[in-house]
């Protein structure tokens, strides 16, 4: 199927496919089982240029555009949703925000190290008492001379504990509510920053989720990302970009799962024929294939908008909405086709079933995608 890729995009996709087969596929089940951050693998991702795929060349990025990035996320997701999540939190949430809002000094300080894999990025937004939305913020940043002092607790921080740089959201003006929320760049080894615990999850295990405590963390004034009060805008934009990549994750996971179910369906003989020959099974596969194709087109379209610096909030929300609608259903059907075997913990189908849910849940979104889409229509 042709998707009007450039030669470069095709090469990047092919390379990501081969790398995934060779280096991620053999480890994927183990990463899920141990739920440990795969540090060596992350280093190999950096060597492939994946960590800075869409970042500018002047900061050592591959400058290959957001569509190329979506393509590698899709390929990696075919083997491991967890590894794709690690990359996406690093690139589309943390690095993307620094590149979009950062000063020249901030970019020079962090982006080359983020491209080389020297430091991993994380996005610390949600708080324990405020799920699933951004919620009531209690992490505060008080100005004290030339420094800000951070205090409070963040929850569900993906890459938490493994990250070298956190984009932390804190209130600089608690009286103003979320309008008083600002973003800060905080090093992983900053004194006062500690990991309270890692959180066990249903899936995406290996993409570590942690609760992070900020206890009088002193950071220089130059750590402020953008301006005071810009927090909400930074979150919205990063979540929209990352949401497009999450659409690519759903495409990758669902595609791999569907291929697995189709293969199983041809091998599994019941009533003297492969079950894939039954119209009931074919209907499920056809539905999945159609939905995956539609989602893929929407993802590529939104990714092209991002790389051409066009408005993309509505298209990103559509990707999110459609991915949530079709992603889990595809996996419910895949496990159904594979029956008792697919339900086994040892089979890829059950891992994909658990992983895809983690991609389509509302990851602390500021707005429901429906609201974003409606807003674009009505305003």
């Amino acid at each position: 199927m042709g998707y009007a890729f450039t030669e470069e995009q095709e090469l990047i996709q092919q390379n990501a496919r081969e790398f995934t087969q060779e280096c991620i596929e053999p480890m994927a089940a183990e990463i899920d089982r141990t739920a440990l951050h795969p540090q060596e693998l992350v280093q190999s991702l950096a060597e492939q240029g994946f960590m800075g795929m869409f970042l500018p060349g002047e900061y050592d990025g591959a400058e290959a555009g957001f569509l190329s990035y979506a393509l590698i996320i899709e390929e990696i997701s075919k083997s491991s949703g967890a590894v794709a999540s690690i990359l996406n939190q690093h690139a589309a949430m943390a690095a993307y925000s620094i590149n979009t809002w950062g000063s020249k000094e901030q970019k020079e300080q962090y982006l080359p190290a983020m491209c080389s894999g020297e430091i991993l990025g994380a996005f610390a937004l949600a708080e324990p008492d405020a799920a699933p939305g951004v919620g009531e913020h209690k992490v505060t940043a008080c100005k004290d001379g030339d420094t800000y002092v951070l205090n409070g607790r963040k929850c569900y921080v993906a890459n938490g504990g493994a990250a070298g740089i956190y984009v932390v959201f804190a209130l600089t003006d608690p009286g103003a509510g979320l309008k008083g929320m600002s973003a800060f760049l905080v090093a992983g080894d900053a004194p006062g920053l500690s990991v309270a615990r890692t959180i066990k999850k249903m899936g995406l295990r290996g993409c570590q989720s942690a609760e992070i405590i900020f206890d009088n963390v002193k950071i220089p004034q130059s750590s402020l990302l953008g301006t005071e009060g810009a927090g909400l805008a930074i979150v919205a934009k990063a979540q929209a970009a990352a949401g497009v990549a999450e659409g690519a994750m759903v495409v990758g996971i669902a595609q791999a799962a569907m291929d697995d179910a189709a293969k199983y369906g041809m091998q599994r003989i019941q009533f003297k024929q492969p079950i894939a020959r039954f119209p009931a099974i074919q209907t499920m596969l056809a539905e999945m294939a159609t939905n995956i194709h539609m989602l893929r087109l929407a993802v590529y379209h939104a990714a092209r908008l991002i790389e051409n610096e066009k408005p993309f909030a509505m298209e990103a929300a559509m990707v999110k909405l459609f991915a949530a609608r079709i992603g889990q259903n595809a996996l419910i059907d895949v496990v159904q086709i594979e029956g008792g075997y697919g339900y086994s913990e040892d089979m890829a189908a059950s891992r994909f079933f658990r992983d895809i849910k983690g991609v389509v849940i509302k990851n602390g979104s500021v707005d429901f995608p429906e609201t974003v889409i409606a807003k674009s229509l009505l305003d």
């Binding site: 949600a126 008492d129 405020a130 799920a131 699933p132 939305g133 951004v134 919620g135 009531e136 929850c155 569900y156 509510g177 979320l178 959180i199 066990k200 999850k201 249903m202 899936g203 989720s209 003989i269 019941q270 009533f271 039954f278 009931a280 099974i281 949530a324 889990q328 419910i332 496990v335 159904q336 029956g339 008792g340 339900y343 086994s344 913990e345 040892d346 059950s350 079933f353 658990r354 849910k357 983690g358 389509v360 849940i361 509302k362 990851n363 602390g364 500021v366 429901f368 429906e370 609201t371």
Partner: protein, 380 residues
């Protein structure tokens, strides 16, 4: 909520099961999901309150509850833990072949084990015979006054712990489905070997094993019904079991709904309002609750037909499909609504979602149910 459509006696048992679930199951549901071991101690408690073998008739020492009562209890178990509910409803299921085709002697043998706290097993599925039960390759041959059974069963629920089982084997391979027969096999018979245990995505503390039968000899009188009656017995057994699985699934869905409601009331949005005040969330809860209620009424209707002796095969299959699909949908929506918290193991809804998936698969996949329903629609 008081349900006025059930009798005071049924309400009493429902309350008993609800209290049992709250006291013995819910406090340990997460722990047993993670550990994955068999929940024997809950069974022991369950026996004390008299809910361990609900299907056994009064004349054999059981409580002899009607179908509606059994389904009320199954819903409460499902509310607590689908793995535990699977063990207990599987126990009931294993005894249905006796109610369908058992002689006086056979009933005494089988029921007495259950009444005394032993677990029952039901071994039908084989590696090559799932939905297609007629492809069974386990064989039983008559040798003098004994049947000699050879073969391998898989996905056998509770069979690692069962004291007595109903095992399906072909007495005439050439006849396919019509050569299938059902036998009572005690655990202690020589040659009964419990094989590998399945590691499942959900219902993890339910015991699912491979069962190997190597020259297992049972008396001639252990054949249920006649030779070749196996498929008929299996189908009637599953007819009886479907509303129970359906009820259990209603319980799973109801738990997810309750968790989601609690969350929607407690968690605050960006403006400090509980998220339940958002119409998008509130309507979602309304839809979830409507589905749970519809599911419950569908199974209730099938059981009323059964209890007055009317045909209920189609309604039971409809209930199984709808209730288990509802459990899958509602648990999935609960996780989505609860976001990162719902996806984490700090909350129970991710377990409910993993558990719900199997209900669409076992005791006749929902595709098999549709074969049953459409068959009755088109061939009557």
């Amino acid at each position: 909520m008081l349900d006025l459509t059930i009798t005071p006696e049924q309400q009493k048992i429902q309350q008993l099961a609800r209290a049992f679930t709250a006291q013995h199951i819910i406090p340990v549901d997460r722990e047993w999901d993670e550990r994955g071991g068999f929940h024997e101690f809950i069974l022991a408690e369950n026996k004390k309150v008299g809910l361990n073998c609900m299907a056994v008739p009064v004349e054999y020492g059981g409580p002899g509850y009607d179908s509606v009562t059994q389904s009320l209890v199954a819903e409460e178990w499902g509310y607590g833990c689908a793995a535990f509910a699977t063990t207990l409803s599987g126990n009931g299921l294993s005894s249905y072949p006796l109610a369908i085709a058992g002689t006086e002697e056979q009933k005494k043998l089988y029921y007495s084990r259950l009444v005394n706290g032993g677990m029952g097993g039901f071994a039908l599925t084989e590696p090559g015979a799932g939905s297609d039960a007629g492809s069974c390759t386990t064989v039983a041959k008559l040798d003098g006054d004994e049947w000699v059974i050879n073969g391998t069963k898989c996905f056998a629920t509770t069979c690692g712990y069962a004291s007595i089982m109903v095992v399906f084997a072909s007495t005439d391979l050439d006849k396919g489905v019509k050569g299938l027969s059902a036998f009572i096999v005690e655990k202690e018979r020589e040659g009964v070997v419990v094989g590998a245990e399945e590691h499942k995505m959900g219902i993890r503390s339910s015991n699912t094993v491979e069962l190997r039968l190597k020259n297992v000899r049972v008396p001639r009188t252990h054949l249920l019904g006649k030779e070749g009656d196996g498929m008929k017995i299996a189908m009637k057994t599953l007819d009886m079991a479907r509303p129970i699985v359906a009820s259990m699934s209603v319980g799973v869905a109801r738990r997810a709904l309750d968790e989601a409601i609690q969350f929607a009331k407690t968690y605050l949005d960006v403006n400090g309002k509980p998220i339940g005040r958002h119409q998008a969330v509130a309507f979602k809860l309304a839809d979830m609750a409507t589905q749970v209620e519809a599911a419950r009424q569908l199974v209730r209707n099938a059981l009323r037909l059964k209890d007055v002796g009317m045909p209920y095969t189609k309604e039971a299959a409809m209930a199984k499909t709808f209730c288990t699909d509802t459990a899958m949908r509602v648990t999935s929506e609960a996780v989505e609504l609860m976001g990162q918290y719902g996806y984490s193991k700090d909350s129970i809804v991710e377990k409910l979602m993993r558990d719900a998936k199997v209900t669409q698969i076992y005791e006749g996949t929902n595709q098999v149910q549709r074969i049953v329903i459409s068959g009755l629609l088109l061939n009557s």
